[in-house]
């Protein structure tokens, strides 16, 4: 089997994205939906229910009441936070130890959450808004690594040689050796999982938002910059490390000054402290 078809086969072997998450998103966007419907849908998925209860008392969501059941969680979280909580709860099950990138599940997840929080902090500065679709794209931006990791592991020496010998980014080396990079692959996974185009593109182009046509909005650029911010702070480091080709034009495209970016990084540390329960839903795996 060729490398390309082996990778695609591995993608098709991934379980479906939890239907509960898509149904919750649809219900939230439907003005006629009721709270009772939402509660019923969430309760259908035991793992999502358990995760929501574990993380909804996190300071990040800012609830004033201690919550111990799904109904109260949904009542108090508010629409935007329900989507974030359900998305995080649903996505977290796919995070596992990822050979090749030498990253443990917990580290991958911390990077995903950190990137989602930072993307939202940056978005608020740039547009005044925090969009849940951005949260989704950011939390799933490296999902391709979950599948590509095994292939990276097999060709690790070759990839590393290109990174250190030719001073190329890890992403370029993936593409050169495997014929596929984790970002593009993440886009394919998101398509299999029936995410909308905006989210698929933000994932697929999170390293190279400049390769998208200009009409694609700011989301890929926000994920690009948030991803780098987390790597700079060592939030979720793997074997690819800082061999990441950051685009200088990102700051310009987003209209950010250096001081804005530094303030966002400082704020991220605070938000991650507040989001400990959210980070904690993926536990360290046994070795």
């Amino acid at each position: 089997m060729s490398m390309d078809s082996a990778i695609k086969k591995a993608v098709n072997g991934l379980p479906a994205f939890p239907a509960t998450v898509h149904r919750v998103t649809a219900l939230i966007n439907d003005p006629d939906s009721s709270m009772a419907e939402l509660v019923d849908v969430v309760r259908l998925d035991q793992s999502i229910t358990a995760n929501i209860l574990r993380m909804c008392n996190s300071a990040y969501f800012g609830l004033r009441h201690k919550v111990d059941n799904v109904q109260d969680a949904i009542l108090y979280l508010g629409r935007q936070n329900i989507v974030r909580a359900v998305m995080a709860a649903g996505a977290s099950r796919f995070f596992r130890n990822t050979p090749g990138y030498e990253a443990e599940a917990k580290v991958m997840w911390e990077h995903a959450v950190g990137t989602a929080l930072l993307a939202q902090i940056l978005s608020k500065k740039v547009t005044g808004r925090e969009e849940t679709s951005l949260f989704t794209a950011a939390i799933l931006h490296d999902i391709g690594k979950i599948v590509l990791g095994a292939f990276v592991k097999d060709k690790y020496a070759e990839i590393k040689k290109i990174v250190s010998g030719e001073s190329r980014s890890f992403l370029e080396a993936e593409e050169k050796v495997l014929g596929m990079n984790h970002a593009t692959l993440g886009g394919l996974i998101a398509a299999n999982w029936k995410f909308p185009e905006e989210i698929r593109q933000a994932i697929a182009f999170h390293h190279r938002p400049d390769r998208l046509a200009s009409g694609n909005g700011l989301m890929p650029w926000l994920v690009h910059l948030a991803d780098q911010g987390c790597l700079m702070l060592g939030i979720g480091q793997g074997s690819d490390g800082l061999a990441y080709d950051g685009l200088d034009e990102a700051m310009k495209r987003l209209g950010l000054a250096q001081a804005d970016f530094e303030a966002a990084l400082a704020r991220l540390v605070k938000e991650l402290d507040n989001a400990r329960e959210l980070v904690g839903i993926v536990q360290p795996s046994p070795h």
Partner: protein
Amino acid sequence: MPQILVKLADLSVSNNPDDLLVVYGLGSTAAVMLYDAQAQTGGIAHFMLPNSASEPQRAREYPAMFADVAIPLLVEACTKKGARREAITARLAGGSLLMGQGISRSISEGNIAAARRILEQLSIPLTSENTGGNHNRAVRMEISTGKSFVRHPDGNWEEMA
């Protein structure tokens, strides 16, 4: 040996010879390691930005976030634990660069430059540095000996001079 993890934007000091101070996840951030050999006392600050001037409120909440606040605070914490101010020496690690990004360069190089400048202002000799490059680092310091090690991308630990 009890490991004490020094988190991002935090500092830790010890005079317990059994302790090992460890920092994981040094990217563009940096770690200053201080030690007094006779007092067997030392500490590490893991800061992420060079200057607190534009973020005074954050600096009150997370003093070790910024080099200009973290390093003097670390010196003070070490002397409180028994280190003699004039006997303290320093090591410095971190400040990796993301490829091709100006913003990363200014933060990484800013962190290293700020640490050097502040240590010089405080008349603390900087005996060893392991900075720059495109890779992450981890560092650790043994309180009993002051020996400090930096982890390379291949996973091996190298003792710093």
